[in-house]
Structures are given as C-alpha cells and as structure tokens.
Amino acid sequence: MNYFGHVLTHLRKDLQLEWRSRDSINGMLFFSLLVVVVFSLAFDPTAAMSRQIAGGILWVALLFASITALNQAWTRELRNRVLDAQRMSPAPPSALFLGKALANFLFVALVEVVLAPLFIVFYNLHALGQGWLLAVVMPLGTWALVCNGTFFAALGLRTRNRELLLPLILFPISIPALLGMMQATTAILTGEFEPGLWIRLLIAYNIAFTTVCLLLFDTVLNAE
C-alpha cells in the first residue's frame, strides 16, 4: 500500500467511527450554536455592527468548538491501546496524522456548513465584498486550526490536564492564523478593504505548519 493508501485507510476509519457515534459533530454543533447565541446577547447585532464583528465571532465560535472535538480525537486511540498498535505498525506515522487531521477538517467543515445559514439569519448578514471568497477563506482557516490542533492534541495526549493544555499551546501559536482569518472574513463582509493579503498569509501559514507537523509527528508519537 502506498502512502496515500495509508492516509485513506486512516481517514475512512475515523469517518466510520464518527458516523457510528456522532459524538464530536453533535457536540461541536450545539456548542458553536450556544457561542453564537451568547455573543448576540453581549453585542447588539444590528446589520452594520454585526458585519464588523461577525468575522471575529464566527471564528471564535469555531475555535472553541473545534477544541472540544480535537480533545476527543486521540482519546479514541487510547482505548484498548490502539495507539500502541499504531506505533508498532510499519505504516508511516505521518499518514496516521494526515488521516486524522483530514477527518477533523471534514467534521469542522460540516459544522460550518450547518452553522453558516444560522449565522446569516441571527446576525442579518449579507456580504458587501466578494462573497465567493469566503469559499476560499473558510477551508484555509479551518485547516490552519485543525492541522495544528490535531498535532498538539497528540502532543498533549499523555500529559496531565490534557483538556486544559491543548488551548494553552494551540492559541498562542495560532494567533497569526486567527488574525488572518478574522481580517479576511471582516474584509469580505464589510467590503472596506482587500482580503488578498490575509488570504496569502493563511496560505503561507498552512504550508509552513503542515510541513512541520508532518515532519515532526514521528518524534511526538514516539516521545519517550
């Protein structure tokens, strides 16, 4: 089996597990819905105001929601010592990581697809810039969160307080990406400035960190 065969096998396994339990997607959906409602209490969402803040709120909701799913992503592998079996298998460790990251990406993307209409209704949104660019920004931003998030969840797997540790190390590293996606989304919604620079930042961020994650995953998996 070649490298992509391994990636696909891992991906299929994770999708199947999620399809049977639907734990993380349901949790994420409800959680991000709650965040959206809570924020609408904190700010008065008139149309002009909500365009300014919606980009930030959307990404904060998705960030918190994906943390809840990422924390669960590797705990599954600990049951019945599956992870130890993975470590012994001759398949490349980075394929395991890539499969897991792609699965998480699909889960968060699904949440976005469900959340987006609700968001538009609750905050009276319609984009004044080029709305189609959101189709570029959303996947780029999601991958930026999910790729590093999956990596750090694996990194913190055997630490004390791993649920606490993941946001503590993921947020500081992700700040440039968060800035990029929030600025790009705000630019598209308000149409006041060009999102091109921020999209390029996101692309550069994704390329740099995906490479490092793939290279260092072996080290993290066999950290003893």
Binding site: L155, T159, R160, L165, P172, I173, I175, P176, F209, V212
Partner: protein, 245 residues
C-alpha cells in the same frame, strides 16, 4: 573536583564584575546622561527598556538552537541531549523574565508619554505574543509527563520559532504606533543622540552580562537536577536488582 572549583571561582568573578558594571550603568543612566529635550527625565527608562527588549529577542534563539540540537542528539547521544535540554529550559525562563521586564517598563513609559498603559500596536503586540509563546512553553514543560517533557518541549520550541516571524509580519500589516527602532533603521529622525550613547551602551553591556549570568546559573541548577534524577534512577534500578536476587 579541581575543574569545578575553578569554574565556580570564574562564576563568582563574573557575578562581581556584572554587579560593578550594573552599578556604573545605573549611574550613567540616572545621573550622567543628559535630560531629554522633549520627555524630561522620564525618558531615562529607555536605558532599561531597550536593552531588555533587545535581549528578550536574543534568548529565544538560544532556546531554538538548543531544541534543535536536543532533537538531533536525542537518540544518537542522550547525554549531550540532556545538556542541550538544560540550555533550552534556562533560556526559555530567561526569555520570559526579560520579556516581562520589557513589557512592564514599556507600559510604565507608555502611561506617561502616550497617556495609556497599553495599545495594540505592532511591537507591543508581537512582544506580548512572544511572551505568551514562551509562557505556554513553560506550561507544557510543567504539565507533561516525565520522560516525554524534553522532546515535546523541543517540538513546541520549533513551532514557536516558525511562528515568531509570521506573527511579526502579520501584526505589522495590522497596525503600527510604537516609534521606529533607533538602531539599524533608515529613518534619520529616529536616531539616538550621540550624548546618550555611552549610557546606553553601558546599560546594554550590563544587562547582557546579567542575562548571561542568570542563564548560566539556571543552566547549572538544571544540570544538578538532572544529575540528581539520574542518581535516583540508578538507585531504583539497583534496589530492584537486589530484590530480584
């Protein structure tokens, strides 16, 4: 035994020299340097603020290189790897100390000259993020399980090393209010007056020497802790062998 004694004496001599240079630097900065035309005596905080900010950008490199060496030696030469790890943790802690002082003196200065404690400007924000990154590094070291700590911390340090330039560029596109750097910048208006230079250089030298002192002090402490852990592990192995007999 002889060698460690000489090194100890060198350490004490370096400490005394550092205290002397610090005293002279403080005298230069507070008493001898001329008062600033625009800001009055408030500007004298520059002699603490700028050296600390310059050095807090220097120590992360020690951390990054130590982490790279740690990962390289991890399986090839575990004893060398432990040395590299001791450098990594001591430089991370010194980075946090210097960045804290930089942020704190900067806030004091900003309150007087700008009228606000804090503003989300390029340099302030990127320094705060540097501080956050290294605090999260120390948190990881504190929370991770023994045996894994060094490797995980080295990996995180590499992530931080890649993140810092991206942070700096992205925040620069975002906003700017802090005055331009007074060294190595093309702007002729932003140059430091020559009369301030001696006091500045004395302070830079003093805080560099102090930084090197606490870095090595922390390094020696960490090495002793490692040696104690190794002894404890050896004792445990011997005891278990005794039990097996």
């Amino acid at each position: 035994m002889q060698r460690s004694r000489i090194l100890g004496l060198v350490g004490i001599a370096w400490f005394l020299l550092t205290v002397g240079v610090l005293a002279q630097a403080t005298r230069m900065g507070l008493l001898l340097a001329p008062t600033d035309a625009l800001q009055g005596n408030v500007f004298r905080i520059i002699y603490y603020h700028v050296p600390h900010s310059m050095l807090s950008l220097l120590f992360p490199y020690v951390n990054l290189f130590a982490s790279l060496f740690y990962l390289y030696w991890r399986q090839r030469d575990p004893l060398k790897a432990l040395t590299a790890d001791a450098w990594a943790i001591s430089s991370a802690e010194v980075t946090v100390v210097y960045a804290t002082i930089c942020l704190w003196t900067g806030m004091l200065w900003g309150r007087v000259t700008w009228g606000i404690w804090w503003t989300w400007d390029t340099r302030l924000t990127s320094m705060l993020l540097l501080w956050l990154l290294y605090v999260s590094y120390l948190m990881l070291r504190k929370l991770s399980a023994t045996g894994q700590t060094q490797t995980l911390a080295a990996v995180l340090s590499i992530f931080a090393g890649i993140d810092v330039p991206i942070v700096y560029m992205s925040i620069r596109w975002w906003r700017t209010q802090h005055p331009a750097p007074i060294f190595l910048s093309g702007d002729p208006d932003a140059k430091m007056d020559p009369s301030m230079l001696p006091a500045f250089l004395w302070n830079l030298a003093a805080w560099t020497m102090w930084g090197i002192f606490i870095l090595i002090f922390r390094y020696v402490l960490e090495r002793r802790r490692q040696a104690r852990d190794q002894d404890a592990a050896l004792l445990a192995i011997e005891a278990s062998l005794e039990m097996a007999k």
